[in-house]
């Protein structure tokens, strides 16, 4: 229950950060997909959403909402690789090329996800 609250707050905080970071009004934001952002929650040993589709230039932020540390590591082990994320810690990566990026948690490798990046 407190977990749900926390999750909501985290998502909200992320949204606010994007808006204030861009420092623009809503119409301008809509015209600036390069500053787009998206979030993946790590909850109960699951990446959610498991498959995320974004456009080129999107910054994806993973947030660990478990009581156990996790990592976010690209299947090729080098395109992106977080350090260990303890509870409520985050990792961000900006996707600059179209493609399909599989990733997993190197501590719990049964945890997998993917980011599909489409050309703008």
């Amino acid at each position: 229950m407190s977990k749900t609250l926390k999750a909501g707050a985290a998502a909200l905080a992320l949204g606010l950060a994007t808006l204030t970071g861009a420092g623009v009004s809503f119409p301008a934001l809509a015209q600036a997909p390069a500053a787009a952002s998206a979030a993946v929650k790590i909850d109960n040993f699951v990446f959610g959403p498991q498959a995320l589709t974004v456009t080129v230039g999107t910054t994806v932020t993973w947030i660990n909402q478990d009581d156990i540390p996790h990592t976010v590591v690209a299947d090729d082990r080098h395109t992106f690789k977080s350090r260990v994320l303890d509870t409520d810690e985050r990792f961000s990566f900006t996707f600059t090329k179209p493609g399909e990026y599989g990733y997993f948690c190197s501590l719990h490798p049964h945890m997998t996800g993917k980011v599909i990046v489409k050309a703008g």
């Binding site: 040993f45 009581d67 540390p69 997993f104 049964h110």
Partner: protein, 311 residues
């Protein structure tokens, strides 16, 4: 863990080390008995004598979440339990996840607690012990001095051969625990030439049989390792990682996982995830514990007795 001043000699190391930990107490039973085969004439291990040792696991020092706000305190309780055992074990095996986040402070705190038992402690790392920037350097600097590869090693004690395997590194996306080709090759060599009558104890963090695949509770290439162990008359495989007792016997191989000293986890598939299981505070200690192994000279398997911190 206490380090011996005669590197290279694990037997000496064993004698000099201090006991520590709350775990399982194992009695190792013979396997050598009265038959002396040709293979034994070649390898000639020391005659197996009766003794006990302990297994402790998953102390997660540094963990402070609702499932156990003070994992350091319950680790200390486990050590107190060991100190109160009527029979002093010869040594302790810690089957990994010593710490929660591989921090130096956590390793130091764990060390301060376990050294109180004054017994040798043999380690394998859990995935929580490989989280430093050096991806395991902190662990290996402390415990890897006489080990090979990612930290594997073996030693003999009173005629029983102990093998420490590492299955928490270089894990593959979508997979479970992994031993890797190099370690498997080393294992095959380590066991070759040993008489089939010699009792073997293998210990690793993640189970070497698949307890629950959907949660990664198994080791992808365990079958290869077990194929090298099949010919032995008495094999005991000890693990942690899943924070609950599980046992299975397959031919001459007995598998056993020990409780954690920090927090319980749900039975495989019975819950939303393998994360820490929050139980009422008054129930916590009945779900934490240590394991005692007793080896009696003869052909019987090692006897394992699990005790909780509540008793």
């Amino acid at each position: 863990m206490t380090h011996d001043d005669t590197p290279g000699d694990r037997r000496g190391f064993l004698k000099c080390m201090a006991w520590a930990g709350t775990g399982a107490l194992f009695t190792v039973s013979g396997g050598l008995a009265s038959s002396i085969g040709l293979d034994q004439a070649v390898a000639a291990p020391a005659k197996a004598q009766g003794f006990t040792f302990l297994q402790i696991s998953d102390s997660h020092v540094g963990f402070n979440k609702p499932a156990n706000p003070d994992a350091k305190a319950t680790y200390q309780e486990a050590v107190s339990k060991i100190l109160s055992l009527p029979q002093k074990p010869d040594f302790i095996l810690h089957t990994g996840d010593i710490t929660q986040l591989s921090k130096d402070q956590e390793f130091d705190d764990a060390d301060q607690i376990i050294k109180q038992v004054g017994l040798p402690v043999f380690h394998v790392p859990g995935e929580h012990d490989m989280l430093d920037e050096g991806a395991g350097k902190a662990y290996l600097d402390r415990f890897g001095k006489e080990t090979k590869g990612a930290g594997w090693y073996s030693f003999d004690h009173k005629g029983v051969h102990f093998v420490a395997l590492i299955n928490v590194v270089n894990l593959k996306a979508g997979g479970m625990g992994s031993l890797g080709a190099d370690q498997l090759e080393w294992l095959e060599k380590d066991l070759s030439g040993r008489p089939s009558s010699q009792p073997i104890v293998v210990f690793a963090h993640i189970p070497l049989w698949t307890v629950y695949a959907d949660w990664g509770w198994g080791t992808d290439d365990a079958a290869q390792a077990l194929s090298y162990l099949k010919r032995f008359g008495s094999v005991t495989v000890l693990n942690g990682h899943i924070h609950q007792i599980t046992q299975k016997v397959e031919g001459n191989i007995a598998f056993h996982t020990a409780r954690s000293t920090a927090f319980p986890q749900p039975v495989g598939g019975q819950g939303p995830s393998p994360g820490p299981l929050k139980v009422p505070t008054e129930q916590l200690r009945s779900m934490l514990g240590i394991t005692t192994a007793t080896f009696v000279r003869g052909r019987e398997p090692i006897a394992l007795v699990d005790q909780t911190l509540a008793t």
